[in-house]
């Protein structure tokens, strides 16, 4: 296998460059075709590169010292940790390329699909390079190129005010993150090490603890703003929905994961772990992120924004695992740490699968109905059966329902926390117990959220003419969706090899043990501490068997065709969509339960026929709006403070030339006094 990986690398690059070259194609159709082929080819090459690295352990190293010599040149080194994320990127790139090939057609004539093709290619390639970057400058450069290309994709529909402001939020937050990252890397290098990761890794040990803590917190903030850690996530629910759906899939399923990658790279690999409170901080971030994400997803009526919030939730779950890993590692429980990290990474992989499928199907719904407002959807299961099927499967996976893949990783997370609770002193055990509670509540709320998402938008009677005349999406999009959705059961079936690979990658990290044999035991998944065992395959088999038996049983004793009869509604004749439960209504009970958090501003407008009597009601409109706590608590005060400072500087530029000369005199006098001080 040796020597193959550079070839694969260049194949990947070539593929994505081909995708980007859609910019130059004479016709829009060719643009789409090259875009699709390039993305698929690049993805395939990238996937095989990642697998080669993961299985043979052979790591790719490339360097271009000539490029930007001033900054130490560019250096690439793909190790197993990076390969996991490269695999995620590439695995998602293939179906997304397939899907986008048809989906982007809907933009032709309105917005430049060539520009879109260029940026999709650049986005894929820069993400792939981030996983292989081996020096601070290379990392930051690819990181920013990734941000920039995705920014242009977010603003694809650039005539809509909404997407402009979304893009602005995205740009601002991602740049704030970049500044934190720059500071972190500079501090890492403040020992005099040059920018290469190897040197930083070596130098990190000698840094004073204060600096190490600062680096970790900066990295957490910087990568958190990309991963969508609450409260740095504000851009995410704005930007992901604004982008074209296949790009939303890329951003939500893949890009945010690179935040996790960065955190692991810096916190675990370069810094080599830290004191227990690092893990504690991450766990708390994770819990807050997961709960905030799912709670806002639950009450969201915009389908794509709901999915974006649920991405935040899942990042929270991943962080719970990562934090537990840091914690156990610092407590000298390497086995448990491995378990936690593995659970986190597995969940990252799984989330890529089902969130990608969800966004693709949401894209098909948007494509079919032209609306993302769930209160205007419905009845798609009969009109767009494939889309609905994909949606259902991925919704079940993300709701962690057995026997699909989401369940497996959440189960592992539970096990990781359990082992932590079992083997650490009361204070930490208490924290972990809260973590378990958060995990469980998140799971339950996620189930409710996706019952709503699927039930309201795909089932029952269409709530609008658009939904009434919805159609199934073209073949290519269907293929992409189905491939993406197929990952969910496949990942469940092949959990054990995947997990073994992940743990093999983790074994490269200093301080974590090599692969615990327990994970290899056939079809059943044993936690390394022998506390628990679970076999997704067996559950799948037993469930299937039972269903078949029950079905046959019913066929035998009650095999009569069903009669069609109107839905019962207290005797009223004929049923209209207006009588259905809406998305807002579905979430109402939980909205009330958590009203302290939501602070909903609801108003009900009642139009009466005759002013003198309030009983002849003609119309009734209920409108509710949330005022998210992070806006209230953090962003509004921050913006206000900057505005105040700005107002002060405006007063400085008063327009009076006398004042201006006065400033000069003042500067002169002050400096003279300073000089006398010397």
């Amino acid at each position: 296998m040796t020597g193959l990986s550079p070839t694969l690398f260049w194949l990947m690059v070539a593929g994505y460059v081909t995708a980007a070259s859609g910019l130059l194609m004479p016709t829009a159709r060719l643009t789409r075709i090259t875009g699709a082929i390039g993305a698929i080819a690049g993805g395939a090459a990238g996937l095989s590169l990642a697998c080669a690295t993961l299985w043979t352990g052979e790591s790719l190293t490339l360097a271009a010292p000539g490029m930007i010599q001033a900054a130490g040149g560019l250096a690439l080194h793909l190790d197993r940790l990076g390969a996991i994320f490269l695999a995620i990127i590439s695995g998602v790139a293939i179906p997304v390329g397939l899907y986008g090939g048809a989906y982007s057609a809907s933009y032709e004539g309105r917005y430049s699909t060539r520009w879109m093709a260029l940026n999709v290619g650049a986005f894929l390639i820069s993400m792939s390079l981030v996983t292989a970057a081996a020096s601070a400058f290379t990392f930051v450069l690819c990181w920013e190129l990734m941000a920039l290309s995705s920014f242009f994709l977010v603003i694809t529909e650039h005539e809509r005010e909404e997407s402009v402001s979304a893009a602005l939020w995205y740009l601002a937050m991602t740049h704030a993150g970049l500044l934190a990252l720059l500071a972190a890397f500079y501090l890492l290098g403040s020992g005099g090490a040059d920018g290469s990761f190897a040197a930083l890794r070596a130098g990190a040990a000698q840094l004073p603890p204060g600096t190490r803590h600062a680096i970790f917190l900066l990295a957490l903030a910087g990568f958190g703003s990309k991963a969508g850690i609450v409260p740095l996530h504000v851009w995410l629910p704005r930007a992901h929905p604004a982008a074209p759906s296949h790009v939303s899939a890329l951003m939500s399923a893949v890009m945010v994961k690179l935040g996790i990658y960065g955190l692991l790279r810096v916190g675990l690999d370069l810094l080599g772990g830290g004191p227990a409170w690092w893990g504690t901080v991450v766990i708390l971030c994770g819990a807050v992120t997961a709960l905030t994400g799912v709670l806002y997803a639950l009450v969201e009526d915009d389908l794509k924004r709901l999915l974006a919030y649920s991405t935040i939730e899942n990042i929270g779950l991943v962080l719970l695992g990562v934090g537990a890993g840091f914690l156990f590692r610092s407590l000298g429980q390497p086995e448990a740490a491995t378990l936690a990290f593995a659970a986190a990474l597995l969940h990252a992989v799984n989330h890529a699968a089902f969130k990608g499928a969800l966004f693709l199907s949401a894209g098909s719904i948007l494509h079919a109905t032209g609306t993302r407002d769930m209160n205007r959807l419905g009845g798609l299961v009969t009109r767009a059966p494939w889309t609905a099927a994909v949606f259902l499967v991925s919704a079940m996976s993300i709701a962690a329902l057995p026997p699909l893949n989401g369940f497996v990783s959440e189960w592992l997370l539970f096990q990781a926390f359990l082992s932590g609770v079992a083997h650490s002193q009361a204070s930490i055990a208490g924290l972990l117990t809260i973590g378990v509670g958060a995990l469980a509540l998140t799971g339950g709320l996620a189930a409710a959220t996706f019952v709503k998402a699927f039930g309201i938008s795909c089932l029952a009677i269409p709530r609008s003419p658009e939904a009434e005349h919805a159609h199934e999406s073209p073949r290519l999009m269907r293929a992409g969706m189905l491939l993406m959705a197929a990952y969910c059961p496949l990942l469940a079936v092949f959990t054990i090899p995947v997990l073994a690979t992940i743990i093999g990658a983790l074994a490269e990290v200093p301080g974590l043990p090599a692969v615990p044999a327990a994970f290899h035991a056939g079809l059943t998944l044993h936690t390394s501490n022998g506390v628990a065992a679970m076999s997704p395959v067996a559950i799948m088999a037993v469930l299937a068997g039972t269903l078949v038996i029950v079905w046959m049983f019913v066929r035998v004793i009650a095999g009569r065709p069903a009669r069609i009869g109107d839905t019962w509604g207290c005797g009223r004749i004929g049923q209209t969509p207006r009588m259905e439960y809406t998305s807002s209504a579905f979430a109402e009970p939980l909205r009330r339960v958590f009203s302290q958090l939501y602070r909903p501003a609801a108003d009900t407008a009642v139009g009466v026929a005759r002013p003198e009597s309030p009983y002849y009601i003609q119309s009734m409109a209920y409108r509710t709006q949330l005022h998210p706590w992070f806006q209230r608590a953090i962003y509004e005060p921050l913006i206000a403070a900057v505005e105040r400072a700005a107002a002060w500087t405006r007063r400085l530029q008063s327009g009076s030339v006398n004042a201006y000369v006065g400033y000069i005199v003042l500067a002169l006098v002050v400096l003279l006094i300073v000089v006398m001080g010397f």
Partner: protein, 315 residues
Amino acid sequence: MDVTGIVCEAAQAVLGLALAPGVVGLIRRVKARLQNRRGAPVWQPYAELRKLFGKDMVVSPNASWVFRAAPFVVFGSTLVVYLLVPAFITPLPLNAAADLFALVYLLLLGTFALALGGLDPGSAFGGMGSSREMTIAALSEPAIALAMLSLALGAGSTNLGEIAARTIANPLAALSAGHVFAFAALFIVMLAETGRLPVDNPATHLELTMIHEAMTLEYSGPCLALIEWASWLKLTVFFTLAANLFLPWGLATSLTPAGLAIAAVTTVAKLGVLAVAVAVIETRIAKLRLFRVPELLAVSFVLGLLAVTSSFSVR
């Protein structure tokens, strides 16, 4: 798993399905008596099932295949759950394949499917029922998780068979604080999950207070039979869990005729006791308003938390 294992599981499935209606019948009977009614005989539910399977099914024109598939999923998942529970013998072969957490999520699978089934016909009641059902399910998750966690901590394993075995091994564990708290927490959750008073009133058909009934409003014939049966089985599952995880005595640890006989008797007895207890409770207390339910679940969450923390102090 070998042939005997399959036989055991199959036998347990059959027994569970056979017992479940009886349990509900007993509860209804006792309630009726406590309310000074004569009430229906204990085997009334069996008759209901027979009747429903005999009728043919009416399906709303709005409903899709999801509506038809849901009852099978509900029934199937509940049955699989029952296959995990040490009802008569322990350990069961399936215990190696799915543990406490898997059990919780399998139950959630049923709830999920039923909620979708409720939404599909597009009736307001279905939507209302699904919404409320999911609300309660979501809010009860943490309590269940913590209760399970404390059980697992006590037994050092999340394997149901293991837990039961450990408690058999050292009976004192049954009296430990964690054990008791966890039992209380699980009991409250059980009331919520199986739609009993004070959370939901299985007997009501007053639309605005219905939860479970509202979801199943559109179902009829065999599908309704499956759903009803599944919900009874779910109740039995929780009873069995409560009985055999906390007081596992009598469970057969080996396949001896005597042991099996004892197991059967004790299990049925425990179910009876719990049924009576539930009946008593349901006659004593009134139904809570929907928005008081979270408070009840919060109580059970705290109980679960106490259960877990008390296991720290043991260390």
